[in-house]
């Protein structure tokens, strides 16, 4: 074969492979829209606004799981953000590099643990502990009708929005910590040295030099963590309690889009039920892909 022909064939093969990625994305969106159309068409806007999820009567309102998805992901960010920033600052700024590298690898191992293992750990270890040492004491202490009671009222079994968020926080922590670390390393050394030279403390260097420098990408890192938390399935399915409708308190059982799909798909007997789950998938697609593309635009290419 002539070299020119072979070169052209090879380039075409590479291009075709790249197009597979485009096709996967397009296929994903198209199949979810196609599969979810019957349910969306029948329920209309009430699919998004109603929280009545009643497969027996073919009534599908997804507000419960949509709210659960957003609530658990946002709640997960509350502990994950300071923890990830703390880990990143400690690894890059405060401890000697060899120690930092070793701890960095250990933290990244957290990201390597499969989701279902987190789920089992959550179900068998975290939930019972949480029920006995957090939920019960609060239930005993709370006056009926008080603010405390309304915030934390629940059946003390450990399967709730709050524990699901805790698991999610641990799961997204390594991703966010590793991006924060890379961002901090990207700050030019002479800027740090200038600040230290003027007598600034580590805290002041972080506040006045490092954080302003990485601000934009750091917001991206949080959105990436949020995107991952929004779509996480198995860990949440094990521990969120899988109740339809709006959770009434922080310690109440709930559901997320992903957990609802994972739980009900096998039992989706009617066509409309399956279609409603596909429509849920479409909603999840829109939410996560908004978060993830925002994250990517903010973080930029150099950082993983």
């Amino acid at each position: 074969m002539r070299t020119a022909t072979r070169d052209r064939l090879f380039e075409a093969a590479c291009l075709a492979a790249a197009m597979v990625l485009l096709a996967a994305m397009a296929g994903l969106l198209a199949s979810l829209a196609w599969g979810g159309w019957p349910a969306l068409h029948k329920a209309g806007l009430s699919f998004l606004t109603s929280d009545v999820w009643d497969p027996a009567h073919d009534i599908y309102g997804a507000a419960g799981p949509i709210f659960g998805t957003l609530a658990t992901a946002v709640l997960a960010m509350l502990p994950a953000l300071p923890l990830a920033l703390g880990v990143a600052v400690f690894l890059t700024e405060l401890c000697p590099p060899p120690v930092g590298r070793a701890i960095g690898i250990a933290v990244e191992l957290l990201a390597a643990i499969p989701s279902i293992v987190y789920g089992m750990w959550g179900l068998f270890v975290l939930a019972p502990w949480f029920a006995a040492h957090v939920q019960m004491p609060i239930l005993v202490a709370a006056q009926p009708g008080s603010l405390l009671d309304r915030l934390f009222a629940s059946i003390p079994n450990g399967a709730n929005i709050c524990t699901a968020s805790l698991i999610l926080a641990v799961m997204v922590l390594p991703y966010m910590a590793s991006i924060f670390s890379e961002l901090l390393r990207s700050v030019p050394t002479h800027m740090r040295e200038a600040a230290y030279g003027m007598g600034a403390t580590s805290l002041e260097v972080l506040r006045f030099i490092l954080l302003p420098f990485i601000k934009r990408s750091a917001v991206g890192a949080v959105m990436l963590g949020l995107g991952r938390a929004l779509g996480e399935t198995m860990a949440v399915t094990f521990i969120i309690g899988n109740a339809h409708g709006f959770p009434k308190s922080l310690f109440d059982s709930g559901s997320t889009i992903a957990s609802t799909i994972a739980n009900e798909f096998a039992e989706a007997t009617g066509d409309l039920h399956a279609s409603a789950l596909m429509a849920l998938g479409l909603v999840l697609f829109v939410i996560t892909f908004t978060a993830l593309s925002g994250a990517r635009l903010l973080i930029g290419r150099e950082i993983h």
Partner: protein, 284 residues
């Protein structure tokens, strides 16, 4: 004046001390979580491991049994998925690194690939269900492998592109100077030079999919018997763990922990080997 300065200094020192302590605490919490989870996994998992695990198929409640059908199924579906992911991912990554420069299509593909990297795996399962399982009227190991392959492809693509970009231009120029075509230069010089990097991509992709449960629920939810047929549903460790962990039987739960340990060991090994290999290629 001096006293006020001293007070300010003390306050700044104190604030800094608290800050350092908090950063240390955060790291401690992350490490504690790792130790707690891995500890529990080893503790409960080792108890469930025996020769039966590898020699017998999944049991009914109260019967002796193991995970043989699930181990074989997982290996087969992940293997098939990886073939798909490596072929597509390496070629796509090559296009991005060697042909895509300056093209808008390339930056678009790169962007989508980065988004797909973190995409919820459950959506990939729904996609393959709608595109393959429903038209063919049945779950199959092939559909499962396809879903897993789609999940691993972005990882391989990304690593391939990064690795090829590390190769010096002189290498390409030297090949061209000898009269080799671009395809020849890429296949026999660039790919060979970044061998360990490409292998890393494959290992990271494998690590990404070997613990995946959600996409398999809709494509190949399980099979109580040892099956090697690609056109029928096949068991896998994660889906079996999902079923057994949520069951009420102690021996099923023990098997689920044993399966969890097996998967975690495989994923961690793939990750660590991948990391060691990359370190080598970054050094040279």
């Amino acid at each position: 004046m001096l006293r006020r300065d001293l007070a300010l200094l003390r306050r700044r020192r104190l604030a800094n001390g608290i800050f350092v302590a908090l950063a240390l605490l955060a790291t401690g919490i992350a490490l504690l979580a790792l130790v707690l989870i891995l500890g529990e996994l080893v503790l409960k998992g080792l108890g469930g491991i025996s020769a039966h695990v590898f020699l017998l198929d999944q049991p009914g409640p109260g019967e002796p049994g193991g995970l043989r059908n699930a181990i074989v199924g997982s290996a087969l579906m992940c293997g098939l998925g990886m073939v798909l992911a490596v072929v597509t991912g390496v070629l796509a990554g090559t296009w991005l690194a060697e042909y895509g420069d300056g093209k808008r299509l390339a930056s678009f593909v790169r962007f989508l690939n980065d988004v797909l990297l973190s995409a919820p795996s459950i959506l990939m399962g729904l996609f393959v269900y709608e595109a393959v399982v429903r038209p063919l009227h049945g779950f199959s190991a092939g559909a499962g492998a396809l879903a897993l392959g789609f999940l691993a492809t972005p990882v391989v693509t990304r690593t391939t592109e990064d690795m090829l970009r590390l190769q010096p231009h002189a290498l390409r120029e030297a090949g061209m100077a000898l009269g080799a075509g671009k395809a020849h230069v890429i296949c026999s010089i660039i790919w060979r030079a970044s061998r360990s990097g490409l292998l890393t991509g494959a290992l990271l992709g494998l690590a990404r999919i070997s613990g995946e449960t959600a996409p398999l629920l809709f494509t190949s939810p399980g099979n109580p018997f040892l099956s090697l047929r690609i056109d029928q549903s096949m068991a896998s460790l994660p889906t079996l763990m999902f079923q057994y962990a949520l069951s009420a039987y102690d021996d099923w739960q023990a098997l689920a922990w044993a399966g969890a340990l097996l998967i975690a060991v495989a994923v961690l090994a793939a990750n660590i080997i991948g990391r060691v290999l990359t370190r080598g290629s970054f050094d040279t």
